[in-house]
């Protein structure tokens, strides 16, 4: 081994600490600026130099978020929650049901069909967005929650993820359950799904976060004010509160908090999802 010169080791330790510090500051400062601004009044946010702890903390920004003209922040939060839960349920259930067939109940041509599923993963959302909108229009589903949720049925990535994990479940379990008289439906819900619980949890989380954070699709599908989601409302606020950044920052804090809470309690499943190549919002 090369002999480490103490001074050199110290230097390397310092370089590391410096890098750590830079990354922490880079990541945290915008959040800190957001939180600090959200507790200021409209004059205090325009006072230099920046005071990180507001001199006279006020909840004015938050009050104004909840008393907006035209749309309700509380209502849109509930809409978002409701839609995120339903989209997640739809996506996860339809994907795992299909995955069960591909993994455990193959039929003639199922391999080819799975190939088609995989191929659809390469089509960017860009291409399908306009025709999907027109399809909803023809079906009369524009500005409905059904219309917003329906495309969640197409979840090739989810099918792929669940299939990989269901392949790992031994046939012996399923066959013995079958011999004991369990139906295929019962086997799916009572044996297969519980056995792939970690992947299931990961997929539920990825899907939930994706729906909660999605912007473009709800923006074009839902047009009436009382149906809009949190992200769309925050996007609209952006145009209306140009010189009242404290209101915007309060809105941003309230939009981030719920999903941050979800992340903190379920971190390990999210981390697992990253290693599986999911979650990009």
């Amino acid at each position: 081994m090369r002999k480490s010169i103490p001074a050199l080791r110290l230097l390397r330790g310092t370089a590391f600490s410096l890098m750590l510090l830079v990354f922490v500051l880079m990541t945290v400062l915008p959040f800190a600026f957001m939180i600090s601004s959200s507790f200021k009044g409209s004059e205090a946010i325009r006072t230099l130099p920046i005071r990180w702890i507001p001199e006279r903390p006020t909840l004015e920004g938050y009050e104004r978020v909840f008393n907006m003209q035209g749309f309700s922040f509380a209502r849109s939060s509930l809409n978002s929650l409701f839609l995120a839960v339903l989209c997640t349920l739809t996506a996860v259930l339809s994907a795992s049901m299909a995955a069960f067939v591909f993994a455990k109940l193959p039929f003639r041509g199922s391999g080819k069909l799975f190939g088609v599923y995989l191929a659809t993963m390469m089509i960017p959302g860009t291409v399908t967005m306009v025709p999907n909108y027109i399809i909803l229009r023809i079906l009369g589903l524009l500005d409905t929650y059904t219309g917003l949720i329906l495309p969640s049925l197409a979840n090739a990535f989810g099918v792929f993820l669940m299939r990989q994990s269901m392949m790992g479940v031994s046939d012996a379990y399923l066959e013995s359950a079958y011999l004991d008289g369990a139906s295929l439906y019962r086997i799916f819900f009572r044996i297969v799904l519980p056995m792939v619980r970690p992947t299931l949890a990961t997929m539920i989380l990825l899907s939930f976060m994706g729906s909660w954070n999605s912007y473009l699709w709800p923006l074009i599908v839902l047009t009436s004010g009382d149906k809009q989601t949190l992200q769309v409302v925050l996007g609209n606020m952006n145009g209306m509160y140009k010189n009242n950044e404290h209101v915007l920052m309060a809105g941003a804090v309230l939009t981030i908090l719920p999903i941050l809470a979800v992340y903190l309690v379920s971190q390990r499943f999210v981390d697992q999802g990253i290693s599986l190549g999911g979650l990009k919002t």
Partner: protein, 297 residues
């Protein structure tokens, strides 16, 4: 799994497969056909559907020969040219930090990932304020360093860099964890051998670490070019294509054509052009990967 004949397998398979088949057929395959059809049509959403008119390649010609297309392409390429090196350096740097053990490691990891789970709308709203010319955090920090910052999103030259900075902030944590996974898979004996030979830490980084994680870096670039060509949420909220059209990008144009001007045919043609560009860029990168990606390890 073995299921005896006549055991209702066919029915079960149909039931299990039906929801996702409807989804894939109705919202992936049918739209591709629809999009291809609309792209050769003059289709105004405000008119009844039978007013649709066949225009052949008219939409494509109109886009490709217009003065707007080169600008949009330039803006998108500017975005990529700024974003790619920054995200590579930041995510490798953050991954190198994460690869060490130190007190507060778990907390640091959580901090790194918080921007990733933040929605783009919230992130864009916050960054608009951070980049605000006079009272924004960025220019205040720059002022401390003796630099007079630009008015970022209100300036034609600095709006795109502003969007890029926000995007790098938001995405670094995600790609850092990808790089971290690659770092973890490097055999420690490589470093031990290098220590024997007296290599310094910079040498170890350039001669061992980077070549060994080059497949992951390649993947990271490929993914980011695909995503970068489709940059949208950030641009729409932070600049809305402005100021003065300085940040118009593909998806923003498609969105405006389709849902502001209701020219569905033109928007569909635009999205096909984008799709071809994505394929082209990806193909080129796979051709070039032999020059620098190392799959030997």
């Amino acid at each position: 799994m073995y299921v005896p004949r006549n055991a209702g397998k066919r029915r079960a398979v149909t039931l299990f497969l039906l929801p996702s088949l409807i989804g894939i057929a109705g919202f992936c395959l049918l739209p591709i056909l629809g999009s291809a059809l609309f792209s050769v049509m003059d289709y105004d959403l405000l008119m009844p559907m039978d007013a649709m008119r066949f225009v052949g390649l008219g939409n494509f010609v109109k886009i490709l020969t217009g003065s707007e297309f080169p600008r949009v392409l330039l803006h998108t390429c500017t975005y990529l040219a700024l974003y790619l090196p920054l995200i590579l350096v930041c995510s490798v740097g953050e991954a190198l930090v994460l690869n060490r053990t130190f007190r507060g490691h778990g907390l640091f990891r959580t901090i790194c990932y918080t921007p990733v789970i933040t929605s783009w709308v919230a992130a864009a709203v916050v960054w608009q304020w951070v980049l605000s010319g006079k009272y924004g955090l960025m220019n205040q920090i720059l002022a401390h360093l003796g630099i007079t910052g630009p008015s970022w999103l209100n300036s034609g030259d600095w709006a795109m860099p502003g969007v890029v900075i926000a995007a790098v902030w938001k995405d670094t944590g995600y790609y850092a964890l990808m790089v971290l996974a690659a770092l973890k898979s490097i055999d420690v004996t490589c470093y031990e051998a290098a220590d024997m030979d007296g290599a310094g830490s910079v040498k170890k980084l350039t001669a061992i670490t980077l070549p060994l994680i080059s497949p992951t870096l390649f993947l990271l670039i490929v993914i980011n070019v695909i995503y970068g060509l489709q940059v949208f949420d950030s641009v729409l909220i932070m600049t809305n294509g402005g100021p003065g059209g300085a940040t118009t990008v593909f998806l923003e144009r498609i969105y405006k054509y389709a849902f502001r001007q209701y020219k569905m045919g033109l928007a569909s043609a635009y999205s096909w052009i984008l799709f071809v560009l994505i394929l082209l860029f990806t193909f080129l990168q796979f051709r070039l990967q032999g020059k620098w990606v190392n799959y030997d390890a």
